[in-house]
Assembly symmetry: C2
Homo-oligomer: 457 residues x 2
């Protein structure tokens, strides 16, 4: 009796070609995050339930993978933020602040399986944690990191949307609505989906007067260049300290954009953004793919005042962002935005020995590898045609043949599988040719975005 | 009420400096495995219990993390081999064979926590899977991969020990003991621990005659250079076909060692090695740290005939090895074998702006980053001494200061934190100096092994 092999629904399992592209994305994230001085972190996937559920309540508790093992009440992490809070609280005497870490890891959410929703998913997070205080420059740097990350991946048509919770909280305080500001922001967040009329009706249902609802819609309707938006906001200055502080912060974030190399077209101040989570207290970020607004934000986060309040009295303010990597990969794949031209073969060279004694082929493989070329030595007893079929199927860029003639003449026969061109050259010349070809193949980025002209043609 | 932050016992959680070294080890493994034409694979950590427990029984079932979620009976993987078997059986029509994959991932075992034992542990595996057949060259290549992997990590005093199960099975068949060969091999495996006398007594307890027990001990006592061992084994030739086939295979593995660049001193044919698992059928491998035999094998594996027999009728022979990465890291750390001189700081340069307007500093940071230098921009409002303390604590190689004077003169003040030397140079000259220094710091390997002279002195 055989057991039918299967992978659980809601769990992504990629075929080799796609997995290589996923690895390239992860490697790009690691490199980019590192350039900004973030250190890698790894924490357990399993934690004590009391740790993960310290905050408790809501969707989280329902979706969590929770079980007992022996006497222990255990849970699988559902994000990378709570484990970070635990880590920082636990190790705070051994860490230096500001503590900047990145983490790319799997998290678990028992959501109803549906297209594009995953129960096991990678998140790729960065956070900067301060000890008591954290300067606004950290918030100003985040858009640069988002911009660099997606640009290096090859994405162009995206927009980082930024707002500041102090601006919002201060504004609602001006209207005497501070008590309801949470509810109001959740309502306003729906603007893009349901339109201003419905938002206004919902606000009135919340008990906001018609006049104030109108003021709110006017406020969040402020549009224009970043300078124009800041200018409009300046008109509200002097009526609330929190608002003024938030506006200063927003001004700082915008001010350094140019110096950080973020182009205007990839960044916008957007007063409708609040982020669902309650704990953001300053700058908040969303990142939209302009051709795919239906997808929602692909990179979000913000500034918070107290990372680890459930574990320690120490005040640990921070700022962080998270990329939902598994979902992003799923979307890129579905939208045909992954660059299939990238070299995703398991090897750069497939080496086919044509002699009984494999020693010369083994030596040649070793030489290539010592030069950094990835070589698969193919020793199977198959017909020549089957070998070449295999080379085609794995998509290897080069096939190298080594027969008696080549060994005698001290040359290497090398076939470029794309052009079909075959050469017989010495090792060094072959190596150079292979390296040039590989460099060319690896020039492109992982994400391939069709320009507007290509889309319309 | 605060909840006491804690990490579950048996779960490794590293501080930043050590985590960076762990990442470097993983990156070395990824690169080395890739050089031999292995493609990266990632599979879910959670699988249906019926899949993971298809083989069933034994320690595995007791140690497994198993739980229900909704109607599903789920388990956390306890190794990377069973998920590979499922993957290959499930996707066999979409894969090309031989299928060569590497996987570095976490697995879970509910062992009793004790020093150096982990419940969540990384394994780093490679396997080559054939479709019906798999050539012996794949088995011959494995020692080269083991050798390259540990050499690149910086380990020198290790020995790859190789045997062949067909040689053992054939030998026991010669003695008419094929039925008991499993029990015998498990007993013989204890030779190093309990000595030949006790092994002999245990064999006799198994029902082996004293004469045959003597022959067994003589056989596994064969010692010498690889040539000498093969020569001694040749004396048994012609009495059993399986033995002869195994001896041919062993001969092939030894023959290509030189061509693969494996030095004699790192490799030995050792007839006592059988490997605990029942399913190996050809070459088997162990890797010992010569200064730490008490640790046991740090990289083991072998050839098997049927990877996925529980899921498919398809015959899928393979060969693979596994490194218990978490345990290895623990040991290296405990033995003080991790190279603390490696650059483990979160950044290469800590940039301290000395002006109120940070724009010039932000621009400088961007320039460094565009040149591939990892920069942390330090914007906190602290005293100069506190800033330098921070630089010391994170171990950053260079601190760059940018004040009014430097901006006016178009120079950069850069302090080498190790030598204390401070320069004021243009950007390009500073960049060159930083790059040279970093290259020097990254010259060494992650593992630092003291030579015999250093140990004895």
């Amino acid at each position: 009796m055989k057991i039918q092999p299967r992978t659980l629904s809601g769990f992504m399992e990629l075929l080799p070609k796609q997995q290589v592209l996923m690895e390239k994305i992860m490697q790009t994230l690691r490199e980019t995050y590192s350039l900004y001085g973030f250190t890698p972190l790894d924490t357990p996937i399993i934690e004590a339930s009391e740790i993960l559920l310290a905050k408790g309540g809501g969707e989280t508790e329902k979706q969590i993978y929770r079980f007992t093992k022996g006497d222990s009440d255990l849970s699988l992490r559902f994000d990378l933020t709570v484990p970070l809070a635990k880590y920082v609280a636990l190790h705070c005497n051994e860490l230096s602040f500001p503590f900047r870490r990145y983490q790319i890891g799997k998290v678990y959410r028992g959501e109803r399986p549906q297209r594009g929703r995953f129960r096991e998913l990678y998140q790729a997070d960065i956070d900067v944690i301060g000890d008591g205080k954290l300067d606004i420059t950290n918030e100003a740097e985040i858009p640069a990191i988002i911009y660099q990350t997606f640009s290096k991946l090859g994405l162009k048509k995206f927009q980082i949307r930024v707002n500041n919770r102090k601006v919002l909280n201060g504004f609602y305080a001006m209207l005497g609505l501070q008590e309801q500001s949470g509810d109001i922001m959740r309502t306003v967040d729906k603007l893009e989906k349901i339109g201003p009329e419905k938002v206004k009706r919902l606000l009135i249902e919340l008990g906001v007067s018609e006049e104030k609802a109108g003021e709110i819609l006017e406020f969040i309707g402020i549009r224009g260049t970043n300078e124009e938006v800041l200018e409009a906001l300046n008109g509200y200055r002097g009526r609330n300290d929190i608002f003024d502080l938030g506006l200063d912060e927003l001004g700082t974030v915008v001010k350094y954009l140019g110096a950080f190399g973020v182009p205007e077209e990839n960044f916008v101040v957007d007063l409708t953004i609040a982020r669902g989570l309650d704990y953001y207290t300053g700058t908040v970020y969303e990142t939209m793919m302009l051709d795919h607004p239906e997808i929602g934000s692909i990179c979000s986060g913000g500034r918070y005042d107290n990372l680890a309040e459930y574990y320690t009295d120490k005040l640990l303010p921070g700022v962080g962002i998270s990329i939902g990597l598994t979902r992003l990969f799923y979307i890129l794949n579905e939208q045909d935005m992954l660059n299939e031209e990238q070299n995703t073969a398991p090897a750069d060279v497939l080496l086919l020995p044509m002699t009984e004694d494999l020693s010369p082929a083994v030596k040649l493989a070793t030489r290539f590898r010592n030069a950094g070329v990835r070589v698969q030595l193919y020793g199977e007893q198959k017909k020549f045609k089957a070998k070449m079929n295999y080379a085609d199927k794995i998509g290897v860029p080069y096939v190298v043949f080594l027969g008696e003639d080549e060994i005698r003449d001290g040359v290497v026969a090398c076939k470029d599988m794309k052009s079909g061109e075959q050469t017989k050259l010495g090792f060094e010349e072959t190596l150079e040719r292979v390296r040039e070809g590989l460099a060319k193949r690896n020039e492109g980025s992982v994400i391939l975005e069709l320009g507007p002209s290509a889309v319309s043609s």
